[in-house]
Symmetry: C2
Subunit: 421 residues, 2 copies
């Protein structure tokens, strides 16, 4: 590389997204990039010329190691979808003006479906206008719903945390015995795809029966059948543990979390505050069976638990970041790096680049045959798929008993960051 690189992060935080950032930085420097800029808040920040020089933040090898262990988007993130060129050409002109000003050779964007849409549009625009910046996407999402790649960095660490926490929750749930039993409903992220929710099955092993029921959003949820299942389990066991995706829906298409609508809070701005899926179902079973019930949401903990990250995931995230820079340096553009699994056991996985036009906005769901007939548990195929992705640990760098992260850029803290200059 002879000129500069700019990298941005987009979409929801993960425990591995900063490892990709570290990979981009390292490889860009190794390949001769003069400067590596980081967009603050993705392309949205870039539009108002918010960026940093990463060398001001990654000053040593230790800093790079800390960055790999730092959860959530180090650079800040956005959920900004580029307009179509005919809708607002000025957005494109502004972006390319900034890229020219910074003498950018490669533009790397770490994110999910929306981010790949950005890569697609910018690379198309560059080709049409004869601009020579290369645009490469780097996959990232805990949801694991990106097409064409075997899996996405971020998913493995979230799955490991979910499996570990689920196992601890199950153990906890058996401690105190209640007269009519205890039902625990654990709500996991994933609006449309059940990859994260299915990972609760990792809790199952020689030393744990695992959760009793698992409900993925891909399969319509039947409240009556759920009731029957729980009733039967409550007759046999002191504690019943159910995992549900936040996005489970009835056959009618209604979200389960909306069933409690009538009791929800409407704030002064008229926003309806939905109670969660788990809360609704916990109240439902308590009402039906007079049992004790508990709703647990893993919430943002599941996407940012760097302290329990998967080594495979963190290393692959790093590798994918490096591969993105390499691809750009070799002249690719409009591509996304994908992970290509060669075998489960021993696990072998490499990187390739694929045309981003084939990826953008396509959602990869859990195959129907990876869920059992009744739709209440994942199959062994699912487990064999996810298990290699949670292997190994990345020991946190502990300072005084708490994991250390890389200093956050000061610019992310103050208000009004997004205003265009």
């Amino acid at each position: 590389m002879r000129r500069n690189v700019i990298v941005g992060q987009s979409g929801g935080p993960t425990a591995a997204i900063n490892s990709s950032l570290a990979g981009v930085y390292r490889t860009a420097i190794d390949r001769g990039a003069k400067k590596v800029y980081g967009m603050l808040y993705g392309v949205e920040g870039l539009l108002s010329e918010r960026y940093i020089d990463l060398a001001d933040h990654i000053k040593s090898e230790l800093d790079a190691e800390l960055l790999k262990r730092t959860p959530a988007a180090f650079l800040g993130s956005c959920r900004f979808k580029l307009p179509e060129i005919f809708e607002d050409k000025s957005v494109y002109e502004k972006i390319f003006e900034v890229l020219d000003k910074l003498d950018i050779e490669a533009f790397i964007y770490i994110g999910g479906n929306d981010s790949m849409d950005t890569i697609k549009k910018l690379s198309d625009y560059a080709i049409v206008t004869g601009h020579n910046t290369k645009f490469i996407g780097c996959p990232k999402t805990i949801d694991n719903d990106l097409a064409l790649t075997d899996h996405t960095p971020g998913y493995g660490s979230a799955a490991k945390y979910i499996g570990t926490s689920m196992k601890e929750i199950i153990r906890d749930s058996f401690c105190l015995a209640y007269d009519n039993g205890l039902v625990t409903i654990v709500e996991i992220m994933g609006r449309n795809a059940g990859w994260l929710t299915g990972a609760v099955a990792l809790a199952k092993g020689e030393d744990s029966d695992g959760p009793d029921l698992i409900y993925l959003p891909e399969i319509p949820f039947d409240l009556d059948k759920f009731k029957e299942k729980v009733e039967k389990l409550l007759k046999e066991r002191n504690s019943v543990v159910v995992a549900v995706s936040e996005g489970i829906k009835l056959k009618s298409g209604e979200y389960v979390c909306e069933l409690g609508n009538n009791i929800d809070f409407v704030d002064a701005f008229g926003h309806k505050q939905l109670s969660g899926t788990a809360t609704f179902l916990a109240n439902f079973v308590a009402g039906e069976f007079g049992c004790k019930s508990r709703a647990i949401e893993l919430s943002t903990l599941q996407r940012s638990a760097s302290h329990a990250a998967s080594r495979v995931d963190i290393l692959e995230a790093y590798q994918v970041g490096g591969a993105a820079v390499k691809a750009a340096d070799e002249g690719d553009t409009g591509k996304m790096v994908v992970l290509n699994r060669l075998s489960d056991d021993p696990y072998q996985c490499g990187t390739e680049v694929k045309d981003v036009h084939k990826i953008a906005n396509d959602e990869k769901l859990v195959p129907r045959n990876w869920v059992d007939q009744e739709g209440t548990y994942v199959t062994n195929e699912f487990i064999s798929y996810v298990k290699p992705l949670i292997q190994g640990d990345v020991s946190p760098i502990m300072v005084d008993g708490i994991p250390r992260h890389l200093y956050q850029p000061e610019e992310l803290k103050c208000r009004n960051h997004k205003k265009r200059k």
Copy 2:
């Protein structure tokens, strides 16, 4: 020791309670106990003669190591308060009948305030009736609210998890910038004592500003002042993170979680399901400021997260279990083992035994001067107190990417365990 030992666990689960169990077992065997029995579900289970021989479960040194790393009460727990002798003598007669049958020399009970009440009553009864079993209490509670002991095993691991998770939540909260800012309310356990909630301040360090506001249950909560504080912070920062104890109350004595009462769900049994404190406050700030808000409950995760346990805590729990057996073997009864801190830095702490009559049912709260004037943050005294307790890690024993626990006794799973024979 010439005869047998019986040990029980009582009250809420912790990440360290099984390390005390391992300490009791090891020391009892080393001191010559023939058998070490475990009560299933504490004294409540003992009344229906539910117990196991621990040698059937701890068969190797590796098993003992797994037990130390297994969250929640291995033996099952109870929230059973012994009646006064004049209320129901038969309960006492039944317990001592079982103790005689099992030839018990020492009765060790691992738990909090209620458990120490049990030790007090049983040791008094033994003295009055001339029975020679020794009764010793072993402190345990994540709430850290036991009197006379510097701190309680279980607290350090919970504090470490809370500090670590809070730091990850804060980092996550800064990723996406919202037009009117984001307020995250994190709810921590502790109905009356703020020891756990204060531990969120451990997130603060060179690399993190820590949470913005901390509300302990010891200090009356003022909704108007809270509103002012958040409003001011929202003008300065993209993200405001507030930690609240589940038990915060208004000056009037009303719980904050009860303020949302009117919108709560009443089930078919007439049980009112309270929305949590965090949910109420998150809805409140969204309504007041039109900001994005988020409620996170650390829920049972904070008490059972063995995967992130504190080494100091796990070792002290083990030590306290051993000290309890030693005290009984040396003839003590009606005593509780306490932790006696000699210095903060370097941290030095030993065990002693104290009269359980002085401990039972007394609740230790966070001193007023360990919270700042305004009641919205803990002071350095608090931090100096808690920091030594979260030091060091106990690496989980990982099998296929997930921490391994000791097999759970089968008896805990099936229904109707508590029925008296």
